[in-house]
């Protein structure tokens, strides 16, 4: 990332610029048009699908989720959904890792107009400037293997991961850090933190001047990150500080359901408080092997995902796990639906929610017909089962951007397709 003049400017006298950034009233102003979504939420769950158990029956606006199928838990919210079938990742060597890396980036390519960013980060770079967090990344057990191409889906540039936070208590502390009813105390805390930041900026510049270009990029990333910390110095306003979620070991497999629920609640809270307009929730990561002991299933999710139709019990176990993810998605939608948008309507009405996966048929390790479910947002006609017939997923990413009021016509690798997904809008 180039070190711009703007960044240097912010290293001096930042106290002057502080102030109204995080006020929810101010951020709520932003929607450019009633047909655009105001917020974007990306949800990921791993290890592909089994299409025969995923696909709805019917077509267009007349469709249903068969009994026992993966999406059946979403039946009550069917009218809020668009089920997108037949979207392909047109990438070389499709597999877990390339699928994960390409899913939100439209293929990692720093030369594209979207700069190798994932769609959430790209949208946040345009609409996130006015909020405390340009984007918020929440995870559920994404990190036991460290950060790598398997475990990360959000990118700020090719090879630069935007990591999720897996611990709800830490997320909570981050969201409500510095929130106090004592205005004077808050203002003094801010001043102390600002003086520390000023010192950091100064030292970073001194170090930077002694380094070559690759190392300077490292320092520039640090400066950029501190600028976001700086934004957080202002109180969030609008929201009362609720009780913190209970601490749960974020790495313990048995805590998976409780961690996920806590993260979804925090995600909705952050949106409703205007702390961010772009959020993601990442369940595990590709190749992850969580064990759904709470459903009485003893094989790991990744092992189950590769079971062939000849092993009916194995496939059924995988479907049961996938139905559980659908239930979680349903819970998130319900929470968004019951939470009012300060400007009227519900959060779901104005929030585009995208449930993404990294593989199509997990048994084949391919990225053909990767299952996507879209919900809410008020930008697309919902209540539809859309057969996309092998369209490249770059078009879906363009559609997401345009739904958020952006005007880009390509995303990622434009040679695979340009413009929005036909039939979506």
């Amino acid at each position: 990332m180039p070190f711009t003049r703007r960044q240097f400017a912010t290293t001096i006298g930042l106290g002057l610029l502080l102030g109204p950034w995080a006020s929810p009233n101010r951020t709520a102003r932003a929607a450019p048009s009633t047909t655009k979504a105001k917020r974007l939420v990306v949800v990921f769950s791993p290890n592909g699908t089994v299409h025969s158990h995923w696909r709805p029956t019917g077509s267009g606006t007349s469709f249903s989720f068969p009994s026992g199928s993966i999406l059946e838990p979403l039946s009550a919210q069917k009218d809020k959904l668009i089920v997108c079938d037949g979207i392909d990742f047109k990438i070389p060597s499709p597999n877990h890792e390339p699928g994960m890396a390409s899913m939100l980036t439209g293929y990692l390519d720093g030369t594209s107009s979207t700069g190798g960013m994932s769609v959430d980060q790209y949208v946040a770079s345009v609409i996130g400037a006015s909020t405390r967090f340009p984007s918020l990344e929440l995870g559920v057990q994404t990190s036991a293997w460290g950060a790598n191409v398997q475990t990360r889906m959000c990118y700020s540039a090719p090879g630069s991961y935007v990591p999720p936070c897996d611990d709800p208590v830490a997320v909570f502390d981050r969201l409500f850090d510095g929130v106090s009813t004592d205005a004077n105390a808050t203002s003094r805390l801010r001043a102390r933190r600002q003086s520390i930041l000023d010192l950091q900026f100064k030292e970073l510049q001194a170090i930077r001047s002694r380094l070559g270009s690759a190392e300077r990029t490292k320092i520039d990333t640090h400066v950029e990150s501190l600028r976001q910390v700086e934004k957080g110095l202002a109180p969030v306003g609008g929201c009362e500080k609720p009780d913190s979620p209970a601490f749960l070991d974020p790495y313990n497999n048995e805590n998976y359901p409780a961690l996920g629920k806590a993260q979804m609640d925090l995600l909705v809270l952050a949106l409703s408080c205007g702390m961010t307009r772009v959020a993601s929730l990442q369940w595990s990561h590709t190749v992850a092997d969580p064990v759904f002991n709470w459903l009485g299933i003893g094989s790991g999710h990744h092992s189950l995902s590769h079971i062939d139709d000849s092993n009916q019990q194995g496939v059924q176990d995988f479907v049961t796990c996938e139905r559980w993810f659908a239930e979680q998605f349903s819970y998130l939608l319900s929470r968004l639906e019951e939470t009012p948008d300060p400007e009227g309507g519900t959060l779901l009405d104005s929030t585009l929610v995208v449930w993404a996966k990294e593989l199509g048929d997990s048994r084949m390790h391919d990225c053909t017909s990767v299952p996507f479910v879209l919900a809410g947002g008020g930008c697309f006609q919902t209540g539809r089962y859309l057969e996309c017939g092998g369209e490249p997923h770059q078009k879906l990413l363009v559609s997401i951007c345009q739904a958020m009021g952006l005007e880009n016509n390509t995303f990622g690798d434009a040679s695979k397709g340009t413009g929005p997904l036909p039939g979506l809008s």
Binding site: K90, P92, S93, P94, N95, E97, A101, Y107, L108, E137, S143, A144, W145, G146, A147, N148, V149, G159, S160, Y161, V162, P163, P164, C165, D173, R174, D177, A191, R192, R193, I196, Q200, E203, I207, L211, A214, K218, T221, H222, E224, S225, V229, G232, N252, N253, D289, V291, N293, G298, S299, S303, I307, D308, N311, G314, R363, M364, H365, D366, K416
Partner: protein, 807 residues
């Protein structure tokens, strides 16, 4: 429209395109079947080929030994996943000339104007490289291959010295290294005397390959910046009561801050502060103290120190020295202490830096010896083991409820502790060698593990961190038999020959395994109480297309079959006898068969390949480099600094500190690729995926008993080819889907035959198993031949191969 040409097709197409070039003879992608060549055999060419007189020697010393034999041949062999590419090599030493011929042909293939031999391994080819990026453009490997191409294709550069000639070790670039999470916690403890777990809660560092110490990936993201701020504020508050500060919070004043800057701040900065830096802190203190009181002034200064970039990044920038830079005294002290203790310099090291004595070689070596002989090395050993063999993942690896009850959080802790205590014992109380680490017939355990390891005798010799227990004869050996390692490399509900074979292949031999190709069914075998795990998994290593990769993994992993999914010994499985025989194959010098984990452990402990890999991994871990870093010369240098034979672990660390590049740095633009960002290993290149529109594979069903013909690849000027098959061989094509076909081949004759069949395939072949394919450039005929395991059919014997085409 999208490109619908897959990587394989391009490679095959590359052969055709290339064989039109008159200056290069093109061998078949594998040894042609000896009994069926009639036309194109014999001497290469009448016209003299371009090349240099010593090409073969150049190939052996510069290309084969350092590059191909270790990094390519695993996949690029007839049994490997790249067996259908143009580059099919043989691992045996006697195949040198054959390999040279293959590589000479490959050297002439270009795509988009660039030799594929350069674009594939650097993942800059438009179709990427299914095996990932192996090295950077302009790395030593790259330049070596460039020169190889220049020699054998163009007959140029014959007199030039080889780029990989190890007269000088590739220097490291000037850089800063952010503290890893583990280094952060260790440093805080040494700095403030506070046991910090903050680092553990930070967003995980990037793991490239196995380790999380790759300096190019250690950055401060927005999340980490928030986390580090929170940690610093908390630690600063705790420091008021828990740390040894020059004054109490109530009495903090400018003089106290002066002392703090001389002491705590200088230790945090790992160098004295400049006048300017000191006045910044003094100004900060007075501004805040006047508004908020002395206590907040003091904590703010401490919090600022803990967030300062000088604290968070280790500097390796250096001072100008000749044509390069040399780390200064304080940087040298830090380089030594983080390598050897995983933390900041202690008082003695800091003093040696302050006086400048550390710059003297004898003083430095004495410091190295002091640290190596103390327990301060242990956190480094533990961190290495935690990552090298995945030991730390025992704390949380998910398991089915049925075994989860035995694998309590306390047991998990004790299992990790076992591996740590064992390594410390080997290093400090015993031989300290890699061999003992891998093959010891004992371990060091916490007595609470005795019920878990129920076959181990309950008497053991008390040692520092537990009891030293002997393993039952023939049951297990070395660290790979620890339940920590065995549980991590297993499935949630059982053992896994695949995971355990991959562990050995990737982490002991440093072989990179390609993922399964797309469109291959990868289902794990169903649990079956009437069979052993081995019986269920054996299909992998006998059936294509799984076999090509799994033959490299499973036969090693089967050696661990006496251990269940959480590392407990089992004499039988489902009351069936366990077969733990296995084989190591496709390695430069370690191929062997064995029976059981103990024999496997002894083989690994004596393997030169494993030793070289171990040294390489210590370099990556200790020097903060990713797997694509150019280490070719450095590993050679390191090995020359080590005594012959089984490496002593502390000798490896000692050698790193004695390497000429340890304290030397050059500006970024004087290095090749070492400063690159290793953070991504995403897909390389672009290409289409399989289409879904119909159209048949070739020909439907046909049967042919054709004889004669010519199985060799046709060069230009050869007579046109006809469909047919080897003498006595009949075949039947069964179309299995719109784009795939399965072909049965039978030897109906009376003598053994190396079979081949040739028939038209109207579309380009995308996937292929159990055979190699050579398309004819003048027609749509494709000649299929068997691979090493099915090339020869006895009379009456049959085989089967298959392929899918691009539609």
């Amino acid at each position: 429209m999208f490109s619908r040409i897959g990587p394989l097709v391009l490679l095959l197409a590359g052969i055709s395109a290339c064989s039109e070039s008159k200056s290069n003879r093109l061998p078949a992608p594998k040894d042609p079947p000896s009994s069926s060549t009639t036309g194109t055999g014999g001497k290469p060419d009448e016209t003299p080929e371009k090349g240099c007189p010593d090409d073969l020697e150049f190939f052996r010393t510069q290309v084969w030994e350092p590059i191909l034999s270790t990094r390519c041949v695993v996949c690029h062999s007839s049994a490997g996943v790249a067996s259908s590419s143009a580059m099919v090599l043989q691992s045996k030493a006697s195949a040198l000339e054959a390999n040279f011929e293959v590589m000479r042909a490959v050297a002439a293939i270009k795509a988009d104007g660039t030799p594929v031999l350069l674009s594939r391994p650097t993942a800059t080819h438009s179709n990427g490289h299914p095996g990932g990026k192996l090295f950077e453009v302009n790395s030593t490997e790259y330049k070596t291959l460039e020169q190889f191409i220049d020699r054998v294709v163009n007959g140029k550069s014959c007199e030039d010295p080889a780029p990989a000639a190890c007269s000088s070790v590739q220097p490291l670039a000037q850089r800063v290294r952010r503290l890893t999470r583990a280094e952060y916690d260790r440093t805080v403890k040494d700095l403030l005397g506070i046991e910090s777990t903050w680092g553990q809660t930070f967003a995980p560092d990037v793991t490239v390959g196995v380790f999380d110490s790759d300096a190019s990936t250690l950055v401060v993201t927005p999340l980490l910046a928030d986390q580090m701020r929170q940690a610093a504020e908390d630690l600063a508050t705790r420091a008021l009561t828990e740390s040894n500060l020059p004054c109490s919070a109530a009495t903090a004043d400018s003089a106290c801050i002066d002392s703090l800057l001389d002491g705590l701040a200088a230790r945090a900065y790992r160098r004295p502060l400049s006048t300017d830096e000191r006045s910044s802190y003094q100004d900060m203190f007075s501004a805040i103290a006047s508004e908020d009181g002395a206590e907040l002034g003091l904590t703010t200064v401490i919090a600022a120190i803990l967030q300062s970039p000088t604290f968070l990044y280790r500097s390796e920038i250096g001072e100008p020295a000749g044509d390069a830079f040399q780390l200064d005294a304080f940087e040298t002290a830090s380089a030594l202490s983080y390598l050897l203790t995983g933390s900041m310099p202690d008082d003695e090291l800091f003093e040696a830096a302050r006086t400048g004595e550390i710059l003297k070689e004898d003083v430095r070596e004495a410091q190295v010896e002091r640290l190596l002989q103390s327990s301060s090395i242990d956190p480094v050993l533990e961190r290495f083991i935690d990552q090298w063999l995945g030991v730390e993942r025992i704390l949380h690896v998910p398991k089915e409820a049925a075994v989860g009850a035995d694998l309590t959080p306390e047991i998990r802790q004790s299992l990790r502790q076992e591996s740590h205590a064992f390594v410390a014992h080997v290093v400090h109380q015993s031989s300290g060698t890699l061999g003992e680490l891998l093959s010891a017939r004992y371990s060091v355990i916490d007595p609470s593990l005795l019920p878990y390891y129920s076959t181990i005798e309950t008497t053991g010799e008390p040692v520092d961190s537990g009891i030293k227990v002997a393993f039952p004869q023939g049951e297990r050996a070395g660290i790979l038999s620890h339940a920590s390692v065995l549980s991590v490399f297993a499935r949630a509900d059982g053992s896994s020959p695949v995971h355990r074979g991959k562990l050995v292949r990737e982490r002991l031999f440093c072989h990179k395994m390609a993922p399964p190709p797309p469109s291959v069914m990868v289902q794990p075998p169903a649990v079956d109480p009437t069979r052993t795990t081995r019986e269920r998994f054996e299909a992998h290593s006998t059936q294509e297309p799984c076999r090509s990769c799994h033959v490299l993994l499973d036969p090693i992993g089967f050696g661990f079959e006496h251990f269940d999914g959480i590392g407990r010994f089992r004499a039988t499985e489902n009351n069936l006898t366990i077969d733990a025989t296995g084989e190591i194959s496709s390695t430069p010098t370690s191929d062997a068969t064995f029976d059981g984990q103990v024999e496997l452990a002894d083989l690994l402990a004596n393997s030169e390949d494993v030793r070289a890999c171990f040294v390489k991994q210590w370099i990556q871990f200790g020097e903060g480099l990713g797997p694509t870093a150019d280490l070719s010369c450095h590993v050679n240098e390191m090995q020359s600094l080590l005594p012959e034979g089984d490496p002593v672990i502390l000798d490896v660390l000692r050698a790193i500190t004695r390497s000429e590049r340890f304290l030397r740095r050059v500006p970024e633009d004087q290095t090749t690729g070492t400063a690159g960002n290793g953070g991504t290993s995403g897909a390389g290149g672009t290409s289409g995926t399989a289409g879904s529109d119909g159209a048949g594979a070739s020909g439907g069903t046909s049967s042919a008993g054709g004889t004669g013909g010519n199985a060799g690849t046709g060069g230009s000027g050869d007579p046109p080819l006809d469909p047919g098959s080897a003498d006595g061989v009949t075949y039947q094509i069964n179309q299995t889907s719109s784009d795939c076909a399965s072909v049965d081949v039978v030897n109906s004759g009376s003598t053994p035959v190396s079979w081949w069949v040739r028939f038209p395939v109207s579309n380009e072949i995308r996937d292929l198993w159990n055979a190699s394919a050579a398309p004819d450039q003048n027609s749509d005929l494709v000649t299929f031949e068997g691979l090493d395991y099915n090339a020869v059919l006895d009379p009456g014997q049959s085989t089967n191969f298959g392929y899918c085409v691009q539609l």
